[in-house]
């Protein structure tokens, strides 16, 4: 209930600055925003890079990275040339990556808006997809619904096969849980079936993708999920 609904009537645009508003000022549906979070080293940046490579020929994509104390993630994506430099923006997070994606999303919203503005008229047409990558954080880090429409939580088998059992907001509530580096499972003694069982217990019907992102076409299950979300988004009311 809005107690200040008189202000909503006088200033209807007051709520149009976050992901809650699905339309651009011109009335068309804006790009879908997908957040990628997860612990340090689980493969978030590798997933973003692989998604860009898999989808860049069919979609107009941009990326926002949230590095904790460097520009390494943005620079990795630039070096790998997964997208032209004007499609990659880095946000600085002041030692608190979860604050920038959840509690105070203002810097990330600005990065997203600037990408929409500068790329809307350029080559490739308006943006279809914006990936927002969190800085590596802990199991409680989730994205605000004011910033993204869907979120992916990336963990890996080498980080301990008890993580799905431990749960936490990232594991239990993300729209997609990616369990990466399955190719390492035999070497680190991780029980993939147990992880799948624990994930199912924590997440119910929410999907889980087992991946080896760095292997040939390893990102395919995530890319397919993104295509489905985009189709769902685009089909929403104009």
């Amino acid at each position: 209930m809005h107690l200040d609904h008189d202000l909503d009537e006088k200033f209807p645009h007051r709520h149009t600055y976050s992901a809650a508003e699905p339309r651009r000022p011109d009335g068309t549906r804006r790009a879908v925003r997908i957040g990628l979070g997860g612990p340090v080293g689980s493969g978030k940046t590798a997933t973003v890079a692989a998604l860009c490579r898999a989808l860049r020929d069919e979609l107009s994509i941009a990326v926002v990275t949230n590095d904790i104390y460097t520009r390494e993630d943005a620079e990795f994506l630039l070096r790998e040339a997964v997208l032209p430099p004007e499609r990659i923006t880095a946000v600085e997070t002041g030692a608190c990556p979860h604050t920038a994606i959840r509690d105070d999303i203002s810097a990330n919203l600005e990065a997203v808006e600037d990408l929409e503005d500068t790329l809307s008229t350029g080559k490739g047409g308006p943006l279809d997809l914006i990936l927002v990558e969190s800085g590596g954080d802990n199991l409680t880090a989730t994205f605000s619904k004011g910033l993204v429409d869907f979120q992916i939580f990336v963990i890996d088998v080498a980080g301990g096969d008890d993580i799905p059992r431990k749960g936490g907001p990232g594991v239990t509530t993300a729209d997609l849980l990616v369990i990466n580096k399955t190719d390492l499972a035999p070497y680190v003694g991780s029980d993939l079936e147990g992880m799948a069982r624990d994930a199912k217990a924590q997440r119910g019907e929410l999907p889980v993708a087992f991946t080896a992102i760095k292997s040939e076409n390893g990102v395919a299950p995530v890319a397919d999920w993104v295509r489905e979300r985009l189709a769902e988004w685009t089909a929403g009311p104009a």
């Binding site: 202000l7 460097t70 600085e92 002041g94 030692a95 105070d104």
Partner: protein
Amino acid sequence: MSRAALLVLADGRFPAGGHAHSGGAEAAVAAGRITDAATLEAFCRGRLHTAGLVAAGLAAAAAGGCDPLALDDAADARTPVPALRTVARKLGRQMMRAARATWPSPELDALAAARPKGAHQPVVLGLAARSAGLAPEDAAYAVVYETVSGPATAVVRLLSLDPFDATAVLARLASDLDGVVAEAVAAAEHVPREGIGALPARSAPLLDITAQQHAAWPVRLFAS
């Protein structure tokens, strides 16, 4: 006016981007000028009486109804280094987003339209205070508190300084904050008759120089 609205505006959790900035503390820590609670206090006192006073004057004038675009120019003139102008406009844009959602007003809309990439943060904060029904004095308080609480919070993270010691530093600065607010509000009251030149124009050259250097660091925890 509502005193509670001031608490909302001055809360460090107000989602306007401040958490990613150290107010020059990161550079001062790296240079060995802040090493403990005593040096943090000296740093905060210096920042308060220079950059803090200037920002408080701008915010008080904006809250009092002075032309925000003229104040924005005045802020540029009082911010000699490009790095700090960029930071001030970036934070101003973030403050604008939060303010328009919390206390929407035609004046905020007009400034946002005139400065889509952001006006200086103290000017936006002053206008936000005005939209919230707060007085110039309230806006100045929000600014001076942020001037010292930003570096104190950052130093807790940078030096693993005891958070109780850092908070005690803020408490010891309280009477300094009162004094700077009084000076800023008095100056802002002169603006309608004497023009923008009545606002304080102090500077801290070392803060300016190190801010410009800090902006070029390849590895840093804070954006400024």
